[in-house]
Amino acid sequence: MNGFYKINKTNEKNINFIHEVAEVCVLAGKILLENGAETFRVEDTMNRLAQSFSVHEAQSFVTPTGIVFAIEGRDVTQLVRITRRGTNLRKVSEVNSLSRQVAEGGAQIEEIHRRLKHIDRIVNTYPEWLQILAAAAASSCFLIMFLGRWGDILPAFIAGGAGQAGTIYFHRLTKVKFFSEFMSSILVGLIAVLSVRIGMGLELNKIIIGAVMPLVPGVPITNAVRDVMAGDLVSGLSKSAEAGLTAFAIGIGIAFALALY
């Protein structure tokens, strides 16, 4: 009787532990995926985390819109839906160093869980004015890199900053990404056209190319092609759909502004 009770007791403890491992892995995967890590990196991190807690039969399947995580031989399967996808690489890097720490051993699972929740919750982005300033500076630098004229720096600076400010503002207004990208690229196009009209800018093409660069989905496109090449076919195709839609929104917005010119 006593022995039976003991076995049951340890089993229960074990099951709780397995559940917590699954929760930790899925939370780490969710943070990584929401903040712009690559698909295989998310899967790899989740599997390694599970292995570090000596759960060796973990399987994970990651797509841009959801994560499935299961532990073989146990009744543990977790599914997480991902609705928000942005790029915040500081969080990616924090989760990475946490998982590295776990792999070195000696970490308590409760502690890791608590710290992951903390990383998930806090907002640790650079201030918005700095992001806008960065976009503006990047736009005018791109103008020079693409061999534009020095006189066009100011219009590119203004248009690029306005584009980033528009993205932040419209994104707060609506969660439909297509709309916010469309509106901010219209803003960029209109400012560029206006600057040429009043004689402040000279080459319309170069100004627009420079100023639209912060909006262009360069990373999603590259990651999409890369995922397909690496064998993550589902996420590669869905990412390229998303990137194509973004490029389309920007193109239509710019076309709209050009039609006015």
Partner: protein, 167 residues
Amino acid sequence: MKVNELGIIITFLIQSMTSFIATCAFGIIYNIPRKPLIHGGLIGAIAWLIYFFLYQWNGNDFVATFAASFVIALTSQIFARLYKNPVIVYSVAGIIPLVPGGLTYTVMSRVVGDHYDMAIHLAEKAFVLSGAIAMGLIFAEVLYQIFKKNFFDKVKKLNTGVTFSRK
């Protein structure tokens, strides 16, 4: 001749400075922590200089894009190993200048002007160029993996007498 050399040096300085600033600025938009931001800026500047001068030299943008993204991925792997950060933190901002944004813009302006044949022609080219970026990234990664398997693991084996395999 003297003037020409001076011009090249000035172009070199201007291009390296602007690409460094632009890459760092993109790092700020992507919210990269401060130290990898500077390293990423350096990687981006080197890659852009390779792209720029290779393109000026032989005019083939596929080769130039491929070479630049290859260098980005390789140096990012090295930095990531040295400073224990994910690779994407270093590579992401450097890729941005290589993305054929200007070409995509031209495609759109051709579409607006009802020149669909030109637009599709250029869109194909933009697609191939983004393929070149991805190929450069994958090649560098594969090369790094092979190198690691044949070099680092052997060193570990020599040091400890047992083979380590993480997987």
